[in-house]
């Protein structure tokens, strides 16, 4: 958890947000609070959490700090499809994004080579199309059309991932080859799909530069990771990013495979039932930005759940270790009141070398279905073993397993491995 020195920065952020943004001043005043009332973490928790709804509704007039416009230098605007359609319009200073990215990636020594003095990495992005502000879903745009102002090349992919036609996949592979990136920023499910196609087409995903892969956007399943690691080989650094469009890098995976949360650029809380959780217990991540001049956020409830581990990591990083649990809207709710996280479902599935992709879905009545696309390695007892593991995790809820040859993505283009309509409607 963050230390007292950081809390002073929080107090500065509160004062800044109060003095310079219409929304946050009203938010505080609605609870009878002023910045000087917030002297310690207990006082701090008297501030009601803020949420995506607040920032969507009040953007830009109510949340942009006085003195800025959407065209101010270094302001990057974006429109995010959001997870489960909870969309957002927002902006971020390019240097805040870079600062948070540097802090987060700093936990992984295998990514050190990316940052060389005087140069910036060449980046290709392969992710759900609505996550980009360029036309990348139709495949009719040129490479030049899809290069963002920061130099990132957005690769083409269909909205419905598994329906992406072969020519579009070939185009993505060709463009990686041509662009010669240092870094692939990918959705792991999307990238695993690309690696399956690359194998089928006898293509490689390489670059004359040392190619690094950052995975984000959706939960990185063990199934996707297995495929990405197998295809890219042991020399290619791969890391799982914790992030949100509106905040940038909230954390990253270290070279020991642990996820670290960025508590240098954010003041972080893990909250359940309005109270901070103890180490080893799951809580929703609230973040307070530190020194965000453009859109300061205070106690911003992310909707993402983590378990703070409370132990030092062998990697040596001081950033706290957390376990990723999944989004509130994706939690599986059992009749006995237990909640099973997407991470727990993924742990039950494991690396499952006999399947290519899966989606666990709980419908409004509570019925759970596990759809999967098996591959040539599948053996009859694989399914039975998985069924037993899922039964153990979700008992007494029965899970129906269905082998299929296609699973649709969400309309946003994201492919979530675990969804619950009960949770989605409850939040």
């Amino acid at each position: 958890m963050s230390d007292a020195a950081t809390f002073e920065a929080v107090r500065e952020e509160i004062t800044y947000a109060f003095d310079n943004t219409v929304f946050f001043r009203k938010h505080m005043e609605a609870s009878g609070l002023r910045p000087e009332d917030i002297r310690d973490p207990d006082d701090f928790r008297r501030i009601p959490p803020t949420s995506k709804v607040h920032y969507r509704r009040n953007y830009p007039a109510g949340v942009l700090a006085r003195g800025y416009t959407l065209n101010s230098p270094n302001v990057m605007r974006f429109q995010s499809s959001g997870t489960s359609g909870d969309r957002l319009n927002s902006a971020i200073m390019s240097y805040d994004l870079a600062r948070r990215q540097a802090t987060a990636l700093g936990v992984n020594r295998r990514f050190d080579a990316l940052w060389r003095p005087g140069s910036r990495p060449r980046i290709c992005r392969f992710a759900p199309p609505n996550c980009s502000d360029v036309e990348c879903a139709t495949g009719f745009s040129t490479m030049e059309d899809r290069i963002l102002p920061d130099g990132t090349l957005v690769l083409t992919v269909a909205h419905d991932l598994l329906a992406t036609p072969e020519w579009q996949i070939v185009k993505a592979l060709d463009e990686i080859e041509s662009y010669q990136p240092d870094l692939l920023v990918v959705d792991p499910t999307h990238f695993a799909f690309l690696t399956r196609w690359a194998r089928r087409l006898d293509r490689k995903i390489t670059s004359p530069r040392h190619l690094h892969t950052v995975c984000g956007y959706t939960l990185m399943t063990r199934v996707a990771r297995r495929q990405i690691e197998a295809f890219m080989g042991p020399d290619a650094p791969i890391g799982d990013m914790i992030g949100m469009s509106e905040l940038g890098y909230l954390g990253f995976e270290c070279d020991h495979g642990q996820r670290h949360i960025n508590d240098k650029d954010f003041y972080v809380e893990f909250v359940e039932g309005g109270k901070p959780v103890e180490n080893g217990r799951m809580g929703e991540l609230y973040v307070t930005t530190i020194d965000d001049g453009l859109i300061p956020r205070v106690r911003y409830a992310t909707g993402d759940y983590f378990t703070p581990v409370g132990e030092a990591c062998a990697c040596g990083s001081e950033l706290p270790v957390v376990r990723v649990e999944g989004r509130a809207t994706h939690m599986v709710r059992l009749p006995d009141g237990r909640v099973v996280t997407p991470a727990a479902v993924d742990a039950a599935v494991g690396t499952a070398p006999w399947l290519d992709i899966y989606k666990f879905e709980q419908d409004r009545t509570g019925v759970c279905t596990f759809r999967y696309i098996p591959n040539a390695a599948a053996r009859p007892d694989d399914v039975a073993a998985l069924e037993a593991r899922l039964a153990e995790t979700l008992s007494p809820q029965h899970v129906r397993l269905e082998a299929v040859d296609y699973i649709s993505a969400e309309r946003s283009g994201k492919f979530q491995p675990c969804v619950s309509h009960i949770s989605a409607e409850a939040v």
Binding site: Y59, T69, Q79, N89, G293
Partner: protein, 411 residues
């Protein structure tokens, strides 16, 4: 404060709040919201009947068939047509395609269209023959000299647009049709999708051969497009779809088509939506016609004046309210993306407006050079919403202005 011509409370969707704020629906050029009587008519069909039409002799089928055909009669009466001259399809696009494909034109058939047409009144004709588009002036009004010049080429079809979905201009179709009749014997096909929601049309007085429109743009359900065709022309039109419901007799050697309009309605139609369409017509007819006209003028004035008052936007279309529906298409300053503005108007201010090329890309490219923002009002909107929209637009454009230095607020 003005009063709408239709009570806002009649439209359940307008009760919705998003992120705690009420919504203002100003995308009526795309589709309109549905009043309670339309929703009730659809629900009643499903709750009390649900049977297929024209198929059986049982009681429910008979009742459903009666309701369906009674709806056709209502729709036909609304445009001054006979019931057998109204074909019930899915949308205006399907209606125009049925005519373009069904006239059996030779591949080099000469066709005259209009630059301000919707893609649905351009692409079917481009496929059917050799299409020339009548130019428009800088305000989107048809270049009449050019139109007459094209008519001298003796087109086989003239595809007219009654009202542009980009400029809101209502073209003088009576005059245009008279000119066509005087110049050649072309089949005249009118797209009335944007005009009919705002003004009544009598197809026989208009002397048009075919006319297409969609019920969803005039308070009806989606999934219902109507094609009027003069009976002798409809009889000669080749059906685009064949199968159940459009034949009287089928044996191993051939089949006998049903009479018009049934031979164009293959398969099970959108029964509930067509019943709901009649309810929409009844609803519109129940509004005070004089008040409706006056209200539309007030909306139109607010839209046009609001655009003309603002240096940061350009109005695409005439700078006046004459012969215009309450619709304003705006070109924003260079570097201000219309799509982003539309999204912020929605999410931050509750105004639902349209952005893009409006399915009329040739015209939008010609007059605006790129994507535009369109605001279109209807019977449930009021002038305060238009004023609120412009205030919201002003606010957003002030945040997108490139002039203010950064960082002034941070110590």
């Amino acid at each position: 404060m003005t009063v709408q011509s239709a009570p806002r409370d009649d439209f359940p969707a307008l009760r919705r709040e998003i992120d705690g704020q009420t919504i203002s629906y100003l995308d009526n050029g795309a589709t309109t919201l549905k009043p309670r009587p339309v929703i009730d008519a659809i629900t009643e069909y499903y709750e009390t009947n649900g049977a297929n039409i024209h198929r059986g002799k049982h009681r429910l089928s008979e009742e459903a068939s009666d309701a369906y055909e009674a709806s056709r009669t209502v729709l036909a009466r609304y445009i001054g047509a006979a019931a057998n001259e109204v074909v019930l399809l899915r949308n205006t696009t399907e209606a125009v395609n049925l005519v373009a494909g069904g006239l059996d034109l030779p591949p080099d058939a000469y066709i005259v269209g209009c630059l301000d047409a919707h893609h649905s009144q351009i692409l079917p004709w481009r496929r059917a023959g050799r299409l020339d588009l009548t130019r428009v002036d800088g305000y989107g009004r048809l270049d009449r000299d050019h139109f007459r010049q094209l008519l001298r080429g003796r087109p086989q079809v003239v595809a007219l647009t009654h009202c542009s979905n980009v400029t809101g201009v209502i073209h003088p179709v009576e005059e245009l049709i008279a000119e066509v009749r005087a110049a050649c014997d072309a089949v005249i096909v009118l797209d009335a999708a944007q005009s009919l929601p705002h003004e009544s049309v009598n197809v026989h007085k208009l002397n048009v051969d075919f006319m297409a429109f969609s019920m969803h743009k005039m308070l009806g359900p989606t999934g219902v497009g109507c094609l009027f065709g003069r009976s002798e022309l409809l009889a000669g039109l080749r059906p685009s779809s064949v199968g159940g419901g459009m034949v009287d007799w089928v044996d191993v050697d051939g089949s006998v088509d049903r009479r018009i309009p049934f031979k164009f309605e293959a398969g099970t139609p959108a029964i509930a939506s067509i019943i709901g369409s009649a309810a929409a017509i009844h609803y519109l007819e129940g509004l005070d016609a004089g008040r409706r006209h006056e209200h539309a003028q007030e909306l139109c004035t607010a839209l046009v004046d609001g655009a003309l008052d603002r240096p940061g936007v350009s109005l695409i279309g005439p700078p006046d309210t004459k012969d215009r529906i309450p619709l304003a298409t705006l070109r924003l300053a260079d570097g201000v993306p219309a799509g982003e503005v539309a999204r912020l108007l929605s999410d931050s201010h509750g105004y639902m407006v349209r952005s893009g090329h409006m399915c009329a890309q040739p015209l939008v490219t010609e007059l605006a050079g790129g994507e535009v923002l369109r605001v279109s009002a209807y019977v449930y909107n009021d002038v305060t919403e238009i004023e609120g929209f412009y205030r919201a637009l002003d606010d957003l454009l002030s945040w997108m202005a490139p002039t203010v230095p950064a960082g002034a607020g941070r110590p």
